[in-house]
Every structure is written in structure tokens, then in C-alpha cells.
């Protein structure tokens, strides 16, 4: 690559992201080398024989290659299986399972990330998306399992109940910030814990609990409330009609930010609250609306996860490593709060998560490596100057603006 095209990278966010990705995998390779015993041993014997270097390099490439191959095969698929299926028309399920899994994980993530991104664009940190998603799951579980109706009524109502749960979860920090000046980071962060405990209460001490069960587990959703597998229950592929919900959310997000009057008000308020006020926007009203919409989308993410994958909720719903509301914050940073960026970011995170499991199974390299790569990519995306320095990009000082502010805005 010559110098001018390198220089252009500093000005193009997507190229910058590509380089961040490259660095993520390079550093991931270093981690593999440093933590995999056969590779380390090969390097330890560097001076034992004249060909030891070649041997060590060989072992390194074998291990790193195997790990990344497994990551790819596990998340996208095996090219030879594709060829086989195309040629024979057989074993499509096995061939498409990795892609189907990646899409399944990406679906709720896209929705939640869009919600977080809308808030970011307005200058608001919604760290509470996970709690709002849990409330969405509770709302959806309630309507989806306690009410009975034909699918054409039941499914929309279930999804709406999820949205309503999220809106409710967003209203609390929205009203507190708007009328009491409470900082949304503190409120939303803490509410996540409150909601996590509320979830345990709901699935253990209310009629939502599975009858005859003493555990913290809810009733199962009616079939009429489910987002069914796209290719039928017998297909063996989990990817569901939820992808259409996600696509709708992305379209909505794009329209909202770029074409709607309210989205314009959001962006103006986010970029300059003083000018927004002078231009006649009501910041209090806007803050509450932002939280309602952001929370509503998080709630939708929760209910989509429920209706497409889990089918019931328990005390661990979206808790810990399943916390899509937290991943969504990272994804919206990675996607620069833009709808297209969020789609790619979600797919990447889902692919690393899904492929990581295959990698662990096949090569013994722990799933945590996927997490390391995710984190490094985000780190580099958040520090474009660093990437430019590493690749010696002498671009102008223009950097990518993340639409976020510090704690003390």
C-alpha cells in the first residue's frame, strides 16, 4: 500500500475500524503464543538445534492458524461444507448452523445497540440498557405466557409488552435526570442491580413463576407468542423471524436520526444543549423522550431474546456474560452510533462469541480470547490517534468523534 492510500485511512472511519480489527487479531495472536504450551515450548528450545527457529515458527503458525480457522468456521462456516452442500444439495443444516447462530446472537444485540446509540447521539449515557432489556423480558414473559390469543394478536402484544417494560425502565432515570438533575450514569448503572433482583422476585414470587416449581423460573411462552425459526422448527437452524424485527429497528434508527424532526432535536440537544434551548427545544422533554425510546428499544431487545431463543426467563436472564445490554454499549461505540456501524459491530461481536466456542472446543484455546480480541478492537476504535501512530499514518488531525461525553458533562 503506498503512502497516499495509507494517509487516506486517517480520514476514513471504516478503514480505521478495519485496521483496529487487524490489530485486534494480531495482538490476539501474541496472546495465543504466550499462553499455549506447545508454542511456548517450541520457542524455549530456540537454541537446541539449527532448525529450531523454523520449527518454532511452524508450531506458532499451526496453532494461531488453527485457532483463527476455528473462529471463522464456527461463526461463518466451512468453505468446503458450502461447496459440498452446493454440489450435493445435502447437509445444509450443518453448513449453515454457524451463520444461523451468529445471526441469532446478533439479532437482539443490534436492537439494544440502536437504543444505546440513540441516547449517545443525544449526549446521554444509557448504561441501564441491560436492566431495561430485562424489564422487556419480564413484560414479554408476562403477556406471552399468561395471556392466550392467536399469534396475529399475541405476538405483537408480547413484543409491545417488552417495549413497554423497557420504556418504564427508561422513564425512571429520565424523570430523575430531567426534574431532579440526577446523573443518568449513576442512576442507570444502579438500576441494573435493582432490576436484576426484581427479576428474581418476579420469577419466584409472582404468578409468572412456573407452576409446580420452587426455582426462579417463569412459565414458558405460548407458541403463539414466539418468534419462530425462519426455516421452520424442523430445520435445526435457530435463526428466527427476530431478524426482521432487528432490520426494522435499524431502518427506524436510520430514519429517526437522519430524517425525523424529533431525531434532529435529539442531535441538536446532544451537540449543544444551550443552543437547543435557545432554538426552542425543551431539554427536559427531550431527555425523557430519549430515555423512553432508548429504553423501549432495549426492552424490545430483551423480549426478542426471550421470544426467539430462551422461550422463558429465569433468575439469570441476561445476567453476567449474557448481558446484551452491556455489550450493546461497546457495540454502539464500535459502530460510532450509526445504524450501519451497529449492524457490522453486532455481527462482529456475535461472530467472535459464537466462533470462540468452536475454537475452544477444537483447539483448547479458551473462549476468553474472543473477549480479548473484542476488547482490543474497541480500544483501538476509541483511540484513532494510536492506530494512526502504529501504522504511521500522517493524516491530518481529524479524528473520529465518539458522541459521548465524560462523567461531568
Amino acid at each position: 500500500m503506498n503512502r497516499t492510500s495509507l494517509r487516506r485511512i486517517g480520514e476514513s472511519p471504516s478503514l480505521l475500524t478495519f485496521f483496529a480489527l487487524l490489530l485486534g487479531f494480531l495482538i490476539g495472536a501474541v496472546v495465543i503464543i504466550a499462553t499455549t504450551a506447545p508454542v511456548l515450548n517450541a520457542w524455549r528450545q530456540l537454541f537446541s538445534s539449527p532448525t529450531a527457529v523454523l520449527h518454532a515458527l511452524n508450531v506458532t503458525f499451526d496453532n494461531v492458524g488453527a485457532a483463527y480457522r476455528a473462529l471463522f468456521v464456527g461463526s461463518i462456516g466451512n468453505p468446503s461444507s458450502f461447496a459440498h452442500s452446493l454440489a450435493t444439495g445435502q447437509s445444509w443444516t450443518a453448513t449453515l448452523t454457524p451463520l444461523s447462530e451468529t445471526l441469532t446472537y446478533a439479532t437482539p444485540l443490534v436492537i439494544a445497540s440502536m437504543g444505546v446509540a440513540l441516547a449517545f447521539q443525544t449526549g446521554i449515557f444509557n448504561i441501564g440498557a441491560n436492566g431495561q432489556a430485562i424489564l422487556g423480558g419480564i413484560g414479554g414473559a408476562w403477556i406471552g405466557s399468561m395471556m392466550h390469543a392467536p399469534m396475529i394478536i399475541h405476538l405483537p402484544l408480547t413484543l409491545l409488552a417488552g417495549v413497554a417494560g423497557g420504556v418504564l425502565g427508561g422513564l425512571i432515570p429520565g424523570i430523575l435526570k430531567s426534574f431532579a438533575g440526577a446523573h443518568e450514569v449513576i442512576v442507570t448503572l444502579m438500576l441494573n442491580y435493582v432490576i436484576a433482583f426484581f427479576l428474581v422476585y418476579v420469577v419466584q414470587s409472582t404468578p409468572l413463576q412456573q407452576p409446580g416449581q420452587a426455582n426462579d423460573i417463569s412459565r414458558t411462552l405460548d407458541h403463539s407468542a414466539l418468534l419462530l425459526p425462519l426455516f421452520g422448527a424442523g430445520s435445526g437452524l435457530r435463526v428466527s423471524y427476530g431478524v426482521f424485527v432487528a432490520a426494522g429497528v435499524v431502518a427506524f434508527g436510520w430514519w429517526f436520526l437522519n430524517r425525523s424532526t424529533l431525531g434532529f432535536a435529539f442531535r441538536v440537544t446532544g451537540a449543544n444543549p444551550n443552543a437547543a434551548r435557545a432554538a426552542g427545544f425543551n431539554p427536559k422533554r427531550i431527555i425523557i423522550l430519549v430515555f423512553m425510546i432508548s429504553g423501549g428499544l432495549a426492552g424490545l431487545a430483551g423480549v426478542v431474546q426471550l421470544a426467539s431463543t430462551n422461550y422463558f426467563i429465569d433468575g439469570g436472564f441476561l445476567i453476567g456474560s449474557a448481558g446484551i445490554g452491556f455489550t450493546a454499549i461497546t457495540v454502539s461505540l464500535l459502530g460510532r452510533n450509526k445504524p450501519a456501524g451497529i449492524v457490522w459491530g453486532s455481527l462482529l461481536f456475535a461472530a467472535l462469541g459464537v466462533g470462540g466456542r468452536t475454537m475452544q472446543a477444537r483447539t483448547g484455546i479458551p473462549l476468553d480470547l474472543a473477549l480479548i480480541i473484542q476488547s482490543i478492537v474497541v480500544l483501538f476504535v476509541a483511540s484513532p490517534v494510536l492506530v494512526k501512530e502504529i501504522f504511521r499514518l500522517r493524516a491530518k488531525a481529524q479524528t473520529v468523534q465518539l458522541a459521548t461525553k465524560g462523567w461531568s458533562q
Binding site: R259, T261, F264, N272, A279, G280
Partner: protein, 499 residues
């Protein structure tokens, strides 16, 4: 110190900001660089100060060619720069700010506060720069903060001082004080490069004037030229410095203030019992030294500040403590004093900023949808009509020069359907060409029968535009007079002489 620039050329991509500029500053000389907004003055100064690298040309100090790779090199060669926006730490004292980076220390690296303060007293005494070394910078008025910047430059033994639009932020009294300081510095042998577009100041202090237009030196003139001649040299065409106003029949009152009292953020009543009528076809100029309540009064009218007591009526509608939206809808056009804080969203495009307070209304929106075609058409028309210099309507407003940013706000407010136009410091930071245009637009508003309120700390502007002059002092309107009473009478009222 003798500083000579030879053929300095600086390009940004295909745009040539400085085109073979040559000039010489003699020791003890106040050399003025005069030019419009965006003429390339600041670029040139950044080259001299080592912040930018010239593509061609050289800089000679006392006949010796020098090359600066950063501003530290320039400082070591005896060049000091006072930026338009100060580079001070607000919570530090004057002494701490001045010695920052070059702290005198006692044993174990402790700051020798006394030595620092003494250093400043010495400098203060030598050049007549009176300032308390122990005062905390954030508590000082702007004029004194600027003085701290000058002391800071002098403490590094600057022989050439670059002052970048130093008067833009100062009150008339502070400007006079700065002029005195410049003269005493020149008398002590320091060279000064003074960047400005204000003709009065140029004539008052400059020894030599270099006029820059579109990146080129167009003329080197003497300060004995008249303001009109200087303006012509700067803009490249003859500029009218006086405002032509035809007689207009004054109609009914559109904006009525009755016993308005307003408190500032600390709860102090800064506007007390103000009553004022602004009529159709009338320009009411509010004169006063900055900080006498004008800012808060305008904010109260625009709905941005709570009215403690009294009433404000716009076109017969009571707008006391109404929301900014209601007041805008009632027909108020408002140009805020701090344009970057209240008037614009710097990260949004010119087109978006031109509809900032009308984006949700027809023709710029239909239902929930924005109509971007209408927004773009509006922007194209306004950019053309108000001569906004921009690379395009999609450019971020933050990339425009200050004067052009102001034009965007004025264009937006005047393009709305308004009954009363209120502008705080409408021409602050604008060059004469732009001022002429903004003034003519303000007068056109008046002629078409709208009520106009101008708040300005520039006495010339007040006298040129005002049909009536309301003088504010300590939160009250001390008198409403005709501009014909003259500068002295109004100046006296501004200083509180009317009470």
C-alpha cells in the same frame, strides 16, 4: 528585534492561505496586519510562531534565517504570542500561570511563590502592566487576563509580541488601556505585530499597516489614511462606514417591558425595574459597558432567563416567562450574544443551522419527517443572499470563520417571520465588509416596520444604528436619548453619570 518575512506561502490542499507574503517589523515598531475575516492573518501568525510550517519562504530574525519546528523554538528566539482565546489555567494565580513550565524552585523542587510573584512585579512595573500576582485568574476580568498573557510572553524575554485580534473581547475602556500598554512596550524597544480588522484601533496605534486580502499583501499604508481609505484597501471596494437610514413612520409598540427585574445565576438582581417600549419601524439601541445587565435582559426577553417580576409583551401577547419556543413563535428573532454557545451547533452543517429553530415546521418538515430538499433550498438561497463564505451548505458551521458564523445566525433569524428582532453584539468579530451588510439588513428590518433592539458595547454601532439609545447602568435604564446628543453625553451616561 528586526523580523523579516520573505515570500511566505502556506497552502492547505488546493487552498492557498498565504501567497508569497513579505513584510518587515522594525524594533520598537507597532506593525499592524489588517485584513478581513479569513484573509489569512491568523495563518501567517501561526507560521511566524512556529505552529504551522510554511511551504515556501523564509523568516529572518536580525538578518539571520531561522526555522521553527514548533512554538517552543519561536519562544526561544524571542517571539511571544497572545492568542485570541487565552491559554491560562483558570484556577491558578497570576504568578502561577506566568511561571508555568519555568517555575522558580526552592530546595526539593518546591515552588518558590515569592520569587514568582517578584518576577511579575518587576515586569509589571517596567511596562506599566498593573496586575496583582496573587489574584486567581478566573476571578479577573477579561482585560486583566489578557494582561497576564502579555506578561507571560514578556517573562520569556519576548522581543516580538504577536497580538491576535486582542481587542475582540475587550470593553472600550480595556481597549484604551491595551493601547497604552502597546505604546509603552514599543517605547521600551519591543516589536509588536498587531492583528485586527478594526480601523479605529489601527489608526490609533499602528506605525505601519500591512493590508492583506485573500492571502496576499495588497498594500503597505500609513495610519494617516482615513478610515474609509483603510476600509477600501482592506475589502477591495469602497465601503460605506456610515449607515444610510431613511425616515420611517414609527408605529405601535411591539415589545413592551414593564418593571422587569431579573436575577443572574448567583441570585443577584442584575436588571431592576426596567421599562422600555420598542415600536414598529424603530431601532432601539441599548448602550452600556458590558456587565450592566444587558446580557441578562436580552436572555429574559428571549425566554432563556427567569423574569423575577414585571411583564414583557411582544406584539400584544404576554410572553413573560413563556418558553423559548412560544416566544420564537410569537415572532421574536434573536441573535444571542455568545453565538457558539447559544446560537449554533458547531458540529452540524450550515444547512441544519440555518433551520435550527424552524426545523419542525413547514416547509422544513411534514409531520414527523424533515423535508431535506426544502432545508437545502433554504440554505442555498440564504448563503447566497447573506454572502456566507463556506465550502458548501453541508460544511460544518464550526469550520466557518467567526464572521461567517454570525452571518449564519443573522440569516436564520431574519429569514423567519418575525415582528421584533433583537440582536446582542450583532457585529462582534466581524470585518467592515460584513458589518456593512449586517447593518444594512438590520436597517431593512426596521424599514419594513419591525421593531429592532440592538445591544452593543461599541459606541459607534449604537450611534450609527439607533433611532433611540437606551443607556443601561448597574441594571437600570438611566435614560433613553436620541443619538444626536453625541458621544460624550452618552459616554457619560454609560459611566453612570446620569444618576
Amino acid at each position: 528585534m528586526r523580523v523579516e518575512l520573505r515570500g511566505i506561502t502556506k497552502r492547505f490542499g488546493s487552498f492557498t492561505a498565504n501567497d508569497a507574503i513579505s513584510l518587515t517589523v522594525e524594533p520598537g515598531q507597532i506593525h499592524c496586519l489588517l485584513g478581513e475575516n479569513g484573509a489569512g492573518k491568523s495563518t501567517l501568525m501561526n507560521v511566524v510562531f512556529g505552529l504551522l510550517h510554511a511551504d515556501e519562504g523564509e523568516i529572518l530574525i536580525n538578518g539571520e534565517s531561522v526555522a521553527f519546528s514548533n512554538s517552543g523554538d519561536a519562544v526561544r528566539k524571542g517571539i511571544g504570542m497572545v492568542h485570541q482565546h487565552f491559554m491560562l489555567v483558570p484556577v491558578f494565580t497570576v504568578a502561577e500561570n506566568v511561571v508555568l513550565g519555568f517555575e522558580p524552585t526552592k530546595s526539593l523542587g518546591r515552588l518558590d511563590a515569592k520569587a514568582a510573584a517578584d518576577q511579575i512585579r518587576t515586569l509589571s512595573a517596567r511596562f506599566g502592566l498593573d496586575v496583582d500576582p496573587d489574584a486567581v485568574v478566573e476571578n479577573l476580568p477579561v482585560g486583566l487576563q489578557q494582561r497576564v498573557e502579555i506578561i507571560k510572553a514578556l517573562s520569556h524575554d519576548a522581543e516580538l509580541l504577536i497580538l491576535d485580534e486582542p481587542t475582540a473581547v475587550l470593553t472600550p475602556q480595556e481597549i484604551d488601556a491595551l493601547m497604552d500598554i502597546m505604546r509603552s512596550l514599543a517605547a521600551a524597544g519591543k516589536s509588536i505585530l498587531f492583528i485586527t480588522h478594526k480601523l479605529k484601533e489601527v489608526r490609533a496605534v499602528a506605525d505601519v499597516i500591512t493590508v492583506i486580502r485573500q492571502g496576499r499583501v495588497v498594500d503597505t499604508v500609513s495610519p494617516s489614511l482615513s478610515e474609509g481609505e483603510l476600509a477600501t484597501a482592506m475589502v477591495g471596494r469602497s465601503v460605506s462606514l456610515t449607515v444610510e437610514k431613511e425616515d420611517v413612520v414609527v408605529g405601535a409598540a411591539v415589545l413592551e417591558l414593564r418593571n422587569v427585574t431579573v436575577r443572574d445565576d448567583r441570585g443577584v438582581a442584575v436588571v431592576t425595574n426596567v421599562s422600555l417600549d420598542v415600536r414598529e419601524g424603530q431601532i432601539m439601541a441599548i448602550a452600556g459597558v458590558q456587565g450592566n445587565g444587558q446580557t441578562e435582559l436580552v436572555e429574559a426577553i428571549a425566554g432563556l432567563r427567569h423574569v423575577e417580576s414585571g411583564t414583557i409583551t411582544l406584539g400584544g401577547r404576554d410572553i413573560t416567562n413563556a418558553s423559548p419556543r412560544q416566544i420564537l413563535d410569537a415572532g421574536l428573532g434573536h441573535v444571542p450574544e455568545d453565538r457558539q454557545r447559544d446560537g449554533l451547533v458547531l458540529s452540524l452543517s450550515v444547512a441544519d443551522n440555518l433551520v435550527l429553530n424552524a426545523a419542525a415546521k413547514a416547509p422544513f418538515a411534514k409531520g414527523w419527517n424533515r423535508r431535506l430538499a426544502a432545508v437545502r433550498d433554504n440554505a442555498t438561497a440564504l448563503v447566497e443572499r447573506f454572502d456566507v463564505r463556506t465550502t458548501g451548505i453541508d460544511a460544518e458551521v464550526g469550520s466557518l470563520s467567526g464572521g461567517n458564523q454570525q452571518k449564519v445566525i443573522v440569516a436564520r433569524e431574519l429569514s423567519r417571520d418575525i415582528t421584533c428582532f433583537i440582536a446582542a453584539q450583532p457585529t462582534r468579530g466581524l470585518d467592515v465588509g460584513s458589518i456593512e451588510y449586517v447593518h444594512s439588513q438590520i436597517v431593512a428590518e426596521r424599514n419594513s416596520g419591525r421593531g429592532v433592539v440592538i445591544v452593543s458595547s461599541e459606541l459607534d454601532e449604537v450611534l450609527a444604528l439607533g433611532d433611540q439609545v437606551a443607556v443601561m447602568f448597574a441594571g437600570t435604564i438611566v435614560d433613553v436619548v436620541s443619538p444626536d446628543v453625541g458621544r460624550e453625553a452618552i459616554g457619560l451616561l454609560m459611566a453612570g453619570g446620569g444618576q
